[in-house]
Amino acid sequence: MAQIACTHCNLKFDESVMITEEAPHGETHYFCCKGCQGVYHLLESEGLGTFYDKLGDTTLQPATPHSDDLEKFDLEGFKNKYIKIHDDGLYEINLIIEGIHCSACVWLNEKVLHKTEGVIEASINYSTNKAKVVWDPEEIALSKIIETIRSIGYNAYPYDPALQEERAVKTRKEYYSRILVAIFGSMNIMWIAIAHYAGYFGGMEQRFKNILNVAEFILATPVLFYSGWVFFRGAYYGYKNKIVNMDTLVASGALSAYLYSIYAMLTQQGEVYFDSVTMIITFVLVGKYLEVLSKKHAVDTLDAIMGSTPTEVTVVKDKTKALVSVENVQLGDIIELKPGEKVVIDGLLTHGEGSFDESSLTGESEPVLKHPGDTILSGSICLDSVVRYEATKEASDSLLHTIVNLLEESITKKPRIEQLADRVSGYFSTVILLIALLTFGGWWLFSSSFEQALIIGISVIVIACPCALGLATPMATLVGISVAAKHNILFKEAGFLETMAKSDFLALDKTGTITEGRPSVVHEETYKTYDKHLLYALVSTSTHPVAEGIRRYLEKEEASFTPLTLEKIKTIQAKGIEAQYGDTHLAGGNALMMEAMGISCDDSTEHTLFYFAIDGRKVARFELSDTIREGAKEAIAQIRQMGVRVVMLTGDHETSANRVAQAVGIDEVNAHLLPQDKARFIEEAQEAGHITVMAGDGINDAVALAQSNIAIAMGSGADVAISVSDVVLMDEQPQSIYDAYRISKRTYRAVKENLSFSLLYNTVAVPLAMAGFVTPLVAALSMSLSSLIVVGNSMRIRMLKK
């Protein structure tokens, strides 16, 4: 049978199941469902048919009708929570639009909103799918706007941008402007400076020099006072708290070089240093900006988690069902869950039984079967049946909410250890400032020439401050980061290399970090030959991890399978699946499933078992287990050799945790941990004085990752885990954790070498400057020479063996 693409959503289906329709120009349109057909006609009649040209080959989600919960958007409580009222009576809301795949989708949504009567402004962010809509409440209701979005096959839900996002966006914009000015200034000063240097060695008349000096002065002033404002602010706060920090050094160094240059410009003596002023400001500012960027990203993913959680639950009271907003659910209320619904309130199961996906809490991909009396945790998803449970906690105390709150907090309050470079430069700048003052005082006293004393005093700061010490850390970490990237390890910030090098404590998540995180077939036993196509067709109908494991196994064994159409597909909860192919009855599942069909199974194994039966006779058996990642044991042994304590944290039960721990050689195991337990464990380790590294991959690790000094996430892990982490392993190999340690330790060594060299340089150069021997030529030569040595030493990190 031919596969044909749906005219609206581009997904391919068999021709026989498509709705066909003759179009006026002799074309035939195919639709996979009524929803897609409806959207197509709506767009055509609105004159928005060009959407499909813009779409190209992108596939969309088929348009499905949504439940009727529109009234809630017009309720008073909703308005207070999400809607911002402008001074002129317009309403504004922030929405996250679901189902956007490409820029054509964004175009369509904006277009449709623009055409809607009463909508004054609508703009959608391409990267985050967040929309800002402004409308006139007298002409249109919010529910109508949401309905319009839904009618074209997308869904929208509101979120509250007030706290985090607005602030993050504002700082990002501010930095952007400051960096633009800084780059403009330094680039222009660079080419003027080239003329300057050429003139210095080739000889230049003072009158030309003056022109260049004034031009540099004009360019450097906005850079120092506008772009460099953050450093003055930082230095001021540092002064108030009696701390000398990197900002103090940058601010005082740049300012004194600037003042000295003005002096040199006015007296027409000596050299100006406007170029070093702008370069220092520009480089350090760009570094700071990168930090701001990564914070913004984390905020975006958090909004998406909170937004997708239901705001209402079905409460059963006196045999009637009612939708109640989660804040109004009281303890003891009976809540009904339908398949596919996300739990938002913790409770105890009272009626029915069903499987729950707890992967976002424990990290385990296999669903858990719950019976009456079992606890139900928020964040898990009800998979296959309708159950009722009693609320034992309020929404705001429930687990999901607690986790999100913890995350929000930890993003802003991540513990950082004091960086070596900051500390050294802190002491250093204090000492240099003191020496400069003493030099100035000394010369003034003994030579009684104020002018000469001032020049020499400032020259002490100028020669001491900028190049070597400023470059010592950034240069080494830059090379370290690029070497790490070559090993498929992404460090999000340069400072993390230093923190990681000092770490002596590594916590590893089990599922997804040490193991692959999904069951794979480890053993196959065939009782009777059978057609593997049948098994493939059967397991393809389910998304259960076990079925997927078998599907992957079959795909590896045989290159291609022709799809068979099965009928009467039935999923039996916590047991398996059955279906009919022609006259043949197919069944696949665990031992319970087989026993229910009258087939005896008396195998005992620690692995998960899957049986396949045709017409009531079992033909094959598969053993599945979560396999340990390749090289985990060696990597852990090497890390331990470095003197790092390795601990395993997992939400799984003890026996399987111990089995994995033994296989990879970890002695310390902590099982049965909820997300916040993991975080507490990390916190306790930190309180005991350890600098911790945590590696994990799931939502369940996110809080612990955020708490840890360094967080390592797997490249394919959950978005939150990646956004709160500091290091991402793209190849997901445990060996890469060891490599990360090795590279950071090597980089740290280079940083220390660079720092000690530049301090040595200063102990020679500063006394010379104090004695008044530093001519501009000496200053220029020694500065570039010392920078070159620092750069060369940093390049040695590249020689690290693979």
């Binding site: 402004e121 391409y126 990267s127 402007s177 030309f208």
Partner: protein, 79 residues
């Protein structure tokens, strides 16, 4: 060579650059760089139709302002 030539050369080139900088700063301030994908992708959809669309939105805003002013004028306290 006279100083004036150099002054004019440096002055004009810096001024040109500064114009570009001012444009960029204006762009940042009005939020044109907030969305980097839109910055790149939306250029493909930029045509006459979009211009009409933008004009229509402006019209809408104006119409609303007009309506509110009318309302104020015709406002009579209920007695």
């Amino acid at each position: 060579m006279s100083e004036n030539i150099i002054i004019v050369m440096i002055g004009i080139s810096t001024l040109l650059g500064a114009t570009g900088l001012a444009a960029l700063l204006w762009g940042v301030k009005t939020g044109q760089f907030d969305d980097k994908s839109k910055f790149i992708d939306a250029a493909r959809f930029d045509n006459e139709e979009e211009l009409r669309d933008a004009a229509m939105m402006e019209e809408k805003k104006k119409a609303r302002k007009q309506k509110q002013q009318d309302k104020k004028k015709n406002y009579m306290p209920a007695d």
